[in-house]
């Protein structure tokens, strides 16, 4: 059996898992990635946007060869109520600095590419196998169990996603609670490349990222999103699960209504729905991070709750990649030292602490609480769209602007505006 023993077994062929495998194989470690899907990427989904910086450090100029969809050059943020939509748009040329770029991606393709990169370095992949449990001896993780098969390794890296059942079994990850996560649903809608260019004002290979606050999540914490892919649009809704049961509208209905909103409908008109997907997003932030290292095991990516919702940006994939890289570093050191104990593997947490991952998680630790304010998704979108409506409506003698705007501000309440303003500034 010892001949069959791997240096590391990685559970999950997502971005964290395959990044880790790539680096381990490159360093000459024998590693095996096991995934329950029929191919790496088969079970993976994203809203749509990858900030390139962390992968750029590992595979420089990756976008040249990777199946990315479009490079983001249009940023849009909207306040949207049932009828109206007020949008702020920011356009910038493609950044010359590669690390500043971000890309829309579709994970089924993208993750297959990254897995192939890792395979070419010598990592082994076994798709189509669900890991059911871990082999634990004297408190140390020594391998995996799948059905009635066992496989041994010096260490196991859990990259098994947001519902990390294996992390829970070890008692390291506590089950995600409704208060600390959201559900995302997405439709991929196929259009021609030219239609997307025309509708979003893009050139080939360039695209838009668009977030919406207000009606998409039925006035509750969450929002809508649109990302332009090469020849499709990713359109979706994210909804905070602690509000499940507070609205009559179902999550799929939210997506449908968002899709049919007058500001959105023309953008997807004539498009063909080619896939419908769902995913839980860990949004608990810094306060919810689990124990990430123990004897013989490291937890990465979504499984470790590494996700940042800052309102105007939502990130998970760049954190997953960086955590996969940090795990690889720790595993390589452990292999050199011949010691896979928690003490040695905690290089992982040190790496994370010194990297943008923990720095950002800490920086935004007050945000989940700040964003969980119904005014953000109800009163403010209505206030802004109503003000804009008044501003642009001419139907007789005009009123001074302050007189037009005051009633809208009053509706929300001046104290609330000041309070949320101060809190908002403090939390970012």
């Amino acid at each position: 059996m010892s001949e069959e023993k791997f240096d590391a077994i990685i559970v999950g062929a997502g971005l964290a898992g395959s990044t880790c495998a790539y680096l381990l194989a490159q360093a000459g470690l024998e590693c095996l990635v096991i995934d329950r899907g029929n191919f790496p990427g088969a079970k993976n989904m994203t809203g749509g946007r990858l900030y390139g910086h962390s992968l750029e450090k590992i595979i420089p100029n990756f976008a040249e060869e990777a199946p990315i969809e479009r490079c983001i050059v249009h940023e849009k943020i909207s306040f949207i109520d049932e009828e109206r939509c007020t949008t702020m748009e920011h356009t910038t040329p493609v950044a010359t600095d590669l690390e500043s770029r971000s890309y829309t991606v579709l994970r089924s393709k993208f993750d297959q590419w990254l897995a192939e990169k890792a395979e070419n370095e010598g990592a082994g992949y076994i798709p189509g196998i669900r890991v059911d449990d871990l082999i634990v001896r004297d408190g140390k993780v020594c391998g995996i169990i799948a059905g009635d098969e066992e496989m041994e390794a010096d260490m196991v890296i859990l990259a098994d996603g947001v519902n990390s059942i294996l992390g829970e079994k070890l008692g390291m990850v506590s089950q995600v609670t409704p208060h600390h996560c959201a559900v995302g649903v997405k439709e991929v809608i196929q259009l021609s490349k030219q239609q997307i260019n025309d509708r979003f004002g893009c050139s080939d290979n360039e695209g838009a990222a668009w977030l919406f606050a207000g009606m998409p999540s039925a006035g509750q914490m969450g929002g809508g999103f649109i990302y332009t892919n090469e020849d499709s649009i990713s359109l979706g809704v994210v909804f905070g699960l602690h509000n499940a049961g507070t609205t009559d509208k179902s999550v799929p209905q939210m997506l449908e209504d968002f899709k049919n909103h007058s500001a959105v409908k023309p953008l997807v008109e004539g498009g063909k729905s080619v896939e419908y997907s769902g995913h839980v997003v860990p949004e608990g932030g810094y306060a919810m991070l689990p124990k990430m290292v123990a004897d013989g095991v490291i937890i990465t990516g979504d499984a470790a709750g590494l996700c940042l919702n800052v309102g105007y940006t939502v990130r998970g994939m760049d954190l997953a990649i960086a955590s996969g890289a940090a795990a690889a570093k720790a595993a390589i050191k452990a292999k050199e030292d011949g010691d896979f104990s928690e003490a040695t593997l905690s290089t992982y947490t040190t790496e994370l602490t010194n990297s943008f991952v923990m720095k950002d998680m800490k920086l935004y630790k007050a945000l989940p609480e700040f964003l969980d304010n119904p005014r953000m998704f109800n009163e403010y979108p209505t206030m802004v769209t109503a003000m804009m409506n008044d501003l642009f409506t001419v139907n007789g003698p005009s009123m001074p602007l302050r007189k037009t705007f005051l009633p809208h501000l009053k509706k929300v309440g001046f104290m609330n505006l000041i309070k949320d303003g101060v809190k908002g500034v403090r939390s970012i």
Partner: protein, 95 residues
């Protein structure tokens, strides 16, 4: 409501390998209706349904394996939540 969503049509374009012999999610008998209502609202695949006569229905085929029901009711009205056995379940072609 202007456009009532038909989730089955949305799911119809997906690629699924349904494990006919093994339900990866099971409900307890006579699940609490308040808990069940959360799942009717939140399940992206609309797999938790209530008929006009008030009877409840659940079908694990069409599951997107997101874990929403587990997060909401894993400790109340679900007696089993697992990922489908390897190779089974949804297969994303886009993701």
């Amino acid at each position: 409501m202007k456009n009532v969503v038909n989730v089955d049509v949305k799911l119809g374009v997906n690629k699924f390998f349904v494990d006919e012999n093994n339900a990866h999610i099971e409900l307890v008998e006579n699940p609490d209706s308040v808990e069940f209502a959360k799942l009717i609202a939140a399940c992206p695949a609309g797999l938790y349904k209530k008929d006009d006569d008030g009877s409840i229905q659940f079908d694990y085929a069409g599951c997107l394996e997101c874990g929403t029901c587990r997060v909401l009711c894993g400790k109340t009205i679900l007696q089993k939540w697992e990922y489908p056995v390897g190779t089974f379940g949804v297969e994303y072609r886009f993701g």
